[in-house]
Structures are given as C-alpha cells and as structure tokens.
Amino acid sequence: MPALVEIRDICKVYNPGENEVRALDHVSLNIDKGEFVAIIGQSGSGKSTLMNMLGCLDTPTSGKYYLHGIDVSHMSDDEQSDVRNREIGFIFQGFNLIQSLTALENVELPLMYRGVNKRKRRELSIAALEHVGLGKRMTHKPSELSGGQQQRVAIARAIAQAPPILLADEPTGNLDSGSSKEIISIIKRLYAEGRTVILITHDPGIAKQAKRIITISDGKIAKDEINENFTL
C-alpha cells in the first residue's frame, strides 16, 4: 500500500543559471492517510512552493510526486486541474471566495467542475455548510459574512467533495484570535473524522496543534518530528 503523498527528491529552481533560487532542494517526504501534518517555516523557506507542489498548482524542476502511487508531477494543466478537483480541498489564508456568489454557490463550485448534477450538488453543499455551522447563512454573499464565517465557507467548500487531502495554507493568518481558535478546532474535528490534513504556517503556536510537525528552512526539511503534546 503506497503512501497517500510521496515526494521523491523534488527540486524547484527559479531563474536557472546565474541567479538561481533553489526554493526546494532535494526534498523527500511521505504522508500517510489520516495524518495531521503541520509544515512550518519562515517566509522564503520554501514552504509556499512546497504547498503549491502538494496542491498540484505547480510542477517540480526535478523529482517526482506520487499521489496514491500515481505520478502527478508532470501532468498537463487540465490533468492537474482534475487532480486538484478530486484529491485536494484547499483552505487559503485569504479565504478565496468568489465575491459575486453566495456561500452556497461558492461551496458548489468544485462539485460543478466535477460534473455532479445539480440536485446532488446542492445536497452535498448544504451538508458541508451545516457541518461547519453555517446552515443559516447559506444565501449570504461573502461580503455579508465575518472573516471567521468566510473561512468556514471556504472549509465547507474544501470538504463538500470529500477529497482525500485537506491543504490549509495559513488558514488563520487573516483572523482574530477568537476566530482562529474556532477554525483550528474545526480543522481538528475534520482530522478526527478521518481526513488527512496538511497545515502550512509560519506560526509555531498554530503548528503545535498538529500531530506531526515538519520544519522547512532554505528549501530543505530541517526537522520532521511527532508532536508529543498533541491533543484533540
């Protein structure tokens, strides 16, 4: 049984030649199904590049990325879109909701791209919104919701299609501490329900919430440790 995520010796080099920047320098990493991993690093450490790589938004200069044992590192744009749609639920720092759509319509988007029919789509989206406690705000536009509520819509959008991986990039970066706690507790609950969660952050306080902490610096993995103090 292959690991859910298997990264083999990945490099990402910008401006190859004179002023080359090695954002990722021979990184290898396995993440199994059902793990709760935090990837922590300073800005410029390469964690954003790693997150783009894990999210199939970017392709490596060299090395391989196996998802479910399948090489997804050198696919075409459309194939990558398909992988993102099926395998990954994104939670972004800036929420990334479409302002002109209601909460419900935002949650429906990835299901629409997957080709789920309208009735089923609505059903799944309502369930997801209820799961994050927004059952009563479904017809609101993002601008009518607080930051925490917007992030919960984004989480609902990420889980509605039940992808194997939740990829959260600084999910609490734009939130006050109250909302942050709320979002972290929702993420923990999703982990407890059996989802694989990868959390990318620069904040040790947030990283500490995860069960496994990978520290990245200068494009290399500096530390990869189990968090002994993890509690649900």
Binding site: F90, N96, L109
Partner: protein, 405 residues
Amino acid sequence: MEYLKSAISSIKQNKGRTFLTMLGIIIGIASVITILSIGNGMKSYVNTSLDEMSSGGVTINLDPKKTDRYLNIDDLEKIRDVVPEMLGITNSISANGEAVTDKQQLEVGITGGLPDIARENTKGMFDGRFFRQDDVESGAAVCVISQEDAILLFNTDEVVDKSFQLNIGNKSAECSIVGVTRSDEEDIKNAREAVRKKEQAYNWCTIQVPYTLLTGRFGLSGEKITSFKIYTSPGIADETALKVKSVTENLIDVRGEGAVQIQSFASIAGAYNNILNIVTLVVALIAAISLLVGGIGVMNIMTVTVTERTREIGIRKSLGAKTSYILIQFLTESAVITLIGGMIGILMGYLFTRIVQLFMSFPPVISPMDVLMVVTISIADGLFFGIYPARKAAKMDPIEALRQE
C-alpha cells in the same frame, strides 16, 4: 446553462459599463435592420407597382418597320385556341371624343376591344355587368365606365342604364352604360370634390366599349390588328407571352425576323430588383462596419473584465476548473453582451423604420429571415471578439492569478 447564469450575473454587476460597450453593437444592428427593411420595403413597393401595371396584361406589337403584315379578329381567336393557358386576349382601339349629358360635357378617351378587355379593371365591378360577346357581334352602343368618371359625368355612381351622347369626329351615338367598375375611395372623394368645385382639371373621362361600336357606327379602321393584349396568370406571364409570340409569328409567317415584340414589365422588374439588392447589400455592409467597431469594444471591455477578475479565475482554477471551462465562461459572457446588444438593436431598428415610414410613400418590411440573420451575426460577433480575452483568462497560471490582490 451554468455558463449563461454566471454570464448574466457578472454582466449585471457592471450594468453601466456593459451597456456603454453594447452601444456600438446596438447602433450597428439597428442600422443594419433599418437599411435592410427599407431595402425590402422598396423592393416590394416596386414589385407591387410593376405588378399592378402588368396585371393589365402583356402587349404584343407587330413592328411596322419589319413587316407590313397584320392580324385580323379571327387570328386572335386562333391564338386563344392554341394557347389555352392564356386568361384572355383582345385587340385594342383607342379614340377620343366627347361625352354629353343634359348636365355635363366631358372629353372622353374611348378604348374598344373584346369582352376580355374587362381584365384591365383589376378592382372589379361596382354595379351592372361588363359588355358581352353579343354586344361585340351586334356593335351595340354600350359602354363601361369607372365610379369616379360616372361621378364626373352624372354626379352619381348609380348610372347603370343611363345614357349619354357620344361624339367622335362628326359622328354621334346615344351610348348606354351597362356597367360601372370600382374605383379607389380616394379617387371617388376627389371626383366628388371636383364636381362640387367645378374644377377644370377634371374635364376628362374614359370608357370601354365593344370595338365593333368604333369600327361600325363610327367608321374607325380596326380590321388590321398590329397590336393586341393578352392576360395571363402572374407566374407564367413570360412563358405564355413567348408562346403567343411564336404562334403569332407562324400566323403571319415572319419567323425569326424580330417583327413580333413583347412589351412586358417582368423583365423591367427583374433588373430593378437586382440593382436594389446590390444597393441594399452595399449599404448594409457599410453599416456592418460599426459591428466590427462594436466587437472591438466588447473585446476591450472583456479584457478589462478578465484582468479585474484574475483572482476569481485563479480561485476557479485551483478548485479544478479546466481551461475549456474558463474559456467557455468568458466566451459566453461576451456573446451574451452582443446578443443583448443585438436584441436592443433590433428593437431600435424597428423604431427607426417606423419613423422612416412617416416620411416615405412605402412601408419598410422587416423580414424574419433578416432578424434571424442579425441575431446570428451579433452572437458570432461576441464569440469572435471574445476569443482573445477568453484565451487570456483560460491560460492564466493559477499560482500567479491567486497572488493578485
């Protein structure tokens, strides 16, 4: 369906600027519709007028320069037998004279012919009957007059069985009216007015009589027929005329000399239509240039929209939207803009034609085919000019797009 919904909702968010962009398309489509409908109107007006003129029949002439032969009245009957699809045939003798009643004295234009000459009167009978074959055989002094001329002569259109004195040259006969043909309301009104005001311009009328009245009692020559008229069904006028021509050539033995000539309006109508078609097309093409300019406006505003919505495109792509989805989304949006513009343009064009109608003697005609064509053109316009911005959107790199504020 999804694409359409999303296109409409995003257009709604920028109503003002989208409308301004549409203006080019609206003006273009409106002018194309107006020009096409004026062209159509002119064509159908010309055709109806020519139709009316030629419904009087086709005249066949023997050219006196090429032959000194002629037909007689029995030859017309022979032609009638050989060409049964013909509706009628008659000789036509004209004369001028005076019509005198106890109240009035008018100049009169007299046309003598066979009963088939009744087909000249396309509006039908108002009262009484047309003269008949037995009137022709007996050379009876009977005539048919129009409603308006009856009013000029008798100050009433109830004139069947009334009679007047008909003078041609130094001969005269008491001519009795057997029938009245229908006239336009407008002409009847004018005749009544003229009688009331005793206008000099209305001192002339026309009557139709059996030709034998003119050749008999008045002694006019009419045995040598060098010109006659035939009446046909509208669709087969040309071929019937050609057949009559060749029959006539055989009868007087002048084959291939061009001595028998057809005078018809169908050929004139055809030439006229061709010219009108070309003029309409050229002017419509000039108007279509504004569609080009309008399309460029759409391309411009869609490029702006794509730039403004870079982040949205990034979000959609990160959620798994394929290139084709983004492409279709923006193509739909530009096509919807031009389609709406096109529909408003059709409406405006319709209003323009109504205004134009006030200043023209003929009604412009908006044909459903033109509307269909214009709708297709406006959609195509949007699709064509939407390609560039839509491709720009579809090819965006999701990481770059998400980084946009």
